[in-house]
């Protein structure tokens, strides 16, 4: 009961999805299923919220090292959630001024907008920009001509880096038009069009097969690790 029914549910749901692809009247089911997934994922966020509360409340009550930061997280979480769910400071839709809940939840000037604009965007964008530094350190540390494969990797990166900035135009701008393929931008184009295309394609074909077999294992109940695979 605890294990068999879920496996049956998974198998039936999955097979219906496969069949729906070939049967035109059922084609909408696939979109519906995707929507249902999104609803479930949104509802599951309550579980995530509970996990956040449990983890940080425990850290605070245990007075673990750094529990003050847990407090920051919890307060930030609580404020954002209440401001957002209650649409604090959000004006109603201009056409329906009598219905206070009609406004867009993230309106310019509203508290949630402020939080998004001045807390979330700067921190996440800066985290994202840390990549520029890590890319540099990886180039220094990992791009070493240890063997033939590594030489190919770093050689390609070298050419494309040059070919895609002003340096490429500057260095090989003198090459006559008829030998354009030998300029840095030209070589970049060949790399992108031939080897990059071929490599990407082979990876994609392999991935498609990998996904197909993983999916099949789930549908047949062979892979049930998501339910715990052994008794």
């Amino acid at each position: 009961m605890k294990r068999t029914i879920p496996i049956i549910i998974a198998a039936v749901a999955g097979l219906v999805m496969v069949v729906a692809f070939f049967v035109p009247p059922l084609i909408d089911w696939r979109e519906t299923a995707e929507e249902w997934f999104n609803i479930l994922a949104a509802v599951a966020m309550i579980l995530g919220g509970a996990s956040i509360l449990a983890m940080h409340l425990r850290r605070i009550s245990d007075q673990k090292r750094g529990w003050g930061f847990s407090l920051v997280t919890l307060i930030a979480f609580a404020i954002t959630l209440s401001v957002g769910l209650f649409k604090v400071g959000v004006p109603p839709m201009a056409e329906y001024p009598d219905r206070p809940w009609t406004g867009e939840y993230i309106t310019h000037g509203a508290p949630l907008w402020w939080i998004f604009q001045y807390l979330i965007v700067p921190i996440t964008a800066t985290m994202f920009s840390l990549l520029a530094f890590f890319v540099a350190s990886a180039a220094f540390r990992a791009f070493r001509a240890k063997n033939a494969e590594a030489v190919l990797l770093l050689g390609t990166a070298f050419i494309v880096l040059l070919g895609r900035s002003y340096a490429g135009t500057l260095l090989t701008g003198w090459v006559p038009e008829s030998y354009a393929a030998l300029t840095l931008p030209g070589m970049t184009d060949t790399i992108m069009g031939v080897f990059n295309t071929a490599g990407q394609r082979a990876i994609m074909i392999g991935i498609a097969l990998g996904i197909a077999s993983t999916s099949l294992k789930i549908l047949l109940g062979i892979d049930r690790s998501y339910l715990g695979n052994r008794h």
Partner: protein
């Protein structure tokens, strides 16, 4: 207190409060000027002129000629909700005429029912069907319901021509099997059959030989080293939800790692960026510990939720890594821009790092910064390989069947294509097109490709 509201929700141009209905959509002739000009003649002259003008202008003033040959066809391979209509243009629909005589077409539709006479409703007008348009797809119909159509040409003054009508009602048919996909169905079945065949072989006890995959032995080694060093391990299942197979594959590997962890009595943490993934990871870990005979050592906090926000999650992970200094980091799942931040931070704390993903754009970074990387398909293979179950290994063999099939199709296709090009053979060209667009495609074929005349 009673609130009573009435909102004006109308749209429209500016200065609406001045009101009034809009001007006609298109400009008309300057009639008053013409009248004044005619009035300048003596009465008889006026009459003569009017008659002459009237005869001359007859073709100009009459309604345009009607379009002809209206036909309706069922749209193939659909759920019975659409019909394609086509017709021959009205003879007056000529781009060389200035001013144009036809401003467009209007299409009327009626549902045919036994009870009452069909009532035509306009469903498209000249804005939808401008001049020179001779085909339209009418969608949103009721399956099996008979419809009648009527098409007229219309000029700038809105005068309608005589109507072209269907002789008999037409019904949108429901297609219960999409014929464009029959070859694709065959391919799907073939690959599935290959996988199933080898699973059966494995169940029967036939030993399947699979090549070594570098990086998989490293998983065991990493868990062992973490135990020795007495430090924890970090498992990151990617930033996508359970609707991504990569996440599922990552969780499958987690089952193996979880079991090893339980056996060695090591510590593992699985922070997730999706609530559903957290739930699944907990299920997985719980049964791994159960399978290792150590259910008591399992507790829910091994997997916890951080945030759905990509870089919020990354901020937590990098902070965690430099503070807790895990001995081993596993990045197995769907990764995006965060891949390099994670791998470089893990590198700076000297952890063994094993990564696996099927995101081609992120593979370079994992390859550059991790100890072992499972590239694309290898990642999916890993979950089967690590499970140690023979029937799961069968799926790997099945995948190879798929690759053979793919290779074969490419080889045959390329040879045919080369022959077609080299020998200029239309027959070979047709065969190549059939292979490319019928066998390997699932949509209607573009018409210009079907006719290799270009």
């Amino acid at each position: 207190m009673v609130k009573r509201w009435k909102s004006v929700t109308a749209a429209g141009g500016r200065g609406r409060l001045t009101g009034g209905r809009g001007e006609p959509a298109m400009g008309s002739w300057g009639t008053p000027g013409l009248v004044a000009w005619v009035q300048g003649f003596p009465v008889v002259g006026q009459l003569v002129l009017l008659v002459v003008l009237g005869v001359m202008a007859q073709p100009l003033w009459g309604a345009p000629a009607s379009p002809r040959g209206l036909r309706a066809r069922d749209v193939r391979n659909d759920a019975g909700r659409a019909l394609t209509l086509d017709w021959q243009l009205s003879p007056d629909d000529d781009v060389r005429l200035d001013p144009p005589r036809v401003a467009g077409y209007r299409l009327y539709r009626a549902e045919v029912t036994p009870e009452e006479r069909p009532r035509f409703e306009r469903i498209r007008d000249e804005q939808d069907l401008p001049p020179q348009v001779d085909e339209v797809v009418d969608e949103g119909l009721t399956p099996h319901q008979p419809y009648l159509y009527r098409l007229v040409a219309v000029d700038a003054e809105g005068r309608e021509s005589a109507a072209a009508e269907l002789d008999q009602p037409v019904r949108p048919e429901v297609w219960y099997f999409d014929r464009n996909k029959r070859w694709f169905l065959a391919i799907t079945l073939l690959i599935s059959a290959g996988i199933l065949f080898f699973i059966r072989q494995a169940r029967r006890g036939v030993e399947l030989k699979i090549r070594k995959i570098a990086g998989l032995e490293a998983v065991d080694e990493a868990v062992g080293r973490a135990t020795e060093m007495g430090r924890s391990m970090l498992f990151v299942p990617g930033i996508q939800d359970m609707n991504n197979i990569q996440t599922v594959a990552g969780i499958t590997v987690l089952a193996r790692i979880g079991r090893l962890t339980a056996e060695y009595d090591a510590r593992i943490e699985v922070p997730t960026s999706r609530s559903l993934v957290m739930t699944t990871a907990r299920e997985t870990l719980e049964s791994s510990y159960l399978a290792a005979g150590r259910p008591d050592a399992y507790h829910e906090d091994m997997s916890y939720y951080i945030t759905d926000e990509q870089f919020g999650y990354v901020a937590y992970l990098t902070g965690y890594m430099v503070r807790e200094k895990p001995a081993a980091c596993f990045f197995l799942g769907a990764f995006f821009a965060e891949s390099l931040i994670l791998a470089e931070t893990g590198n700076s704390i000297g952890a063994i790092q094993i990564a696996g993903t099927a995101e081609p754009a992120q593979l370079p970074f994992f390859v550059a910064a991790c100890d072992y990387t499972l590239i694309g398909e290898e990642f999916f293979a890993a979950s089967a390989y690590l499970s140690g179950e023979p029937e799961q290994l069968g799926t790997l063999k099945g995948q190879d069947v798929g690759k053979l099939l793919g290779g074969l199709l490419i080889a045959v296709g390329c040879l045919l294509f080369t022959y077609a090009h080299g020998a200029d053979s239309p027959a070979a060209q047709r065969a190549v097109n059939y292979l490319r667009f019928q066998v390997l495609g699932t949509e209607d074929i573009p018409e210009e490709i079907l006719e290799p005349g270009e």
